[in-house]
Symmetry: C6
Subunit: 79 residues, 6 copies
């Protein structure tokens, strides 16, 4: 039992301010700009986050872009 617990991936720690800050951006559908490790920038609205990914909606009726969290250098509100 214990070992199966240990092998499950940890969940997102929502007590961390950074995780909560992103949750707020998601809840308020705040337009954001992301700077990526490649130097590219992306704009859109964050839909959800999990341990490894952010999901960004780049515009209406467009499919989600799945973004590797570790490749996100910074997140800035556009408001």
């Amino acid at each position: 039992m214990n070992s199966s617990f240990d092998r499950r991936a940890p969940t997102l720690d929502t007590t961390q301010p950074g995780i909560r800050h992103i949750q707020d951006l998601i809840r308020h559908t705040t337009p954001v700009r992301l700077l990526l490790s490649t130097g590219d920038s992306l704009e859109g609205i964050l839909r959800w986050q999990d341990l490894r990914y952010l999901a960004l909606c780049p515009g209406e009726d467009q499919p989600l872009t799945l973004i590797n969290r570790e490749a996100v250098v910074l997140i800035r509100s556009l408001l």
Copy 2:
């Protein structure tokens, strides 16, 4: 016994939305574009994922491309 469990690599956590999103792209053979850490883009259809790699089929009758998950900056559906 316990230590042998601990040493086994964890399996992919399919309760995470990002992992499930990729599973959906695989099941529906959705054409995708990947942005890589080198700045290169790749297009094709994802065939499977595991803890470390994504397998992409770049076109019919072409061999799989094995892609390091950590080098994938973002994944976008082309539909």
Copy 3:
């Protein structure tokens, strides 16, 4: 009980000099310059840190910029 503890993310280790140095920059609202992994530089005042992120205020009345700690190459006081 034990396993639920194990799965919680560790907290920031404030006994580490580097973490304390950043806490001092935050407390004294010292203007800093950050060099990022993309080669970009950012200036502002650090507001808080957690395990994964630094929050930088780039100027008065501007929203916080959330910065991935691992993408921060160096931090320098501007005083």
Copy 4:
């Protein structure tokens, strides 16, 4: 005893499809092209893999090139 086990590095998890795919390339001495994180490409035949490295033979009578797995962005069969 338990702690000495815990400190040993984990072995390569050969139940993972990506690891097995690489094992197949090794067994069949399939010529491959690797894209590296620097943007460089390498061609040759993979000889073995371990947790941290791939060993590539770039040509007959040439010494092995030891490649950091984490610096390998993708692997493609040349057949």
Copy 5:
């Protein structure tokens, strides 16, 4: 009790030769050059190290530069 230990960050392992080499550079106030992951070089005298950071004094009466260890590609004595 045990779990609180487990959650504390590990301390710097001063039995490792690399860590000791850096400690020697610090003790002898040896001028060094660092190559960073961005390709930038920095010169100065190392003041301390911890798990995540190196502290570099770039010159007399200048504030410390806090450098992410993982962004340091190499360290070279200038003597």
Copy 6:
């Protein structure tokens, strides 16, 4: 007791072929070329390795260069 063991950094796993390959290069003082994550190349003779660093002697009477293992993309014998 157990927790103090757990907190000690693991030692280099010399049963791994990659680690042993590097040990051989060290023992035979084989001249090598390293490709770094910045795209720079370094030549010299490896003196030792530990968990985090390789020590390279770039030439006679020159001080050791300490190289972050994770920043080493590949290692090639020059013989």
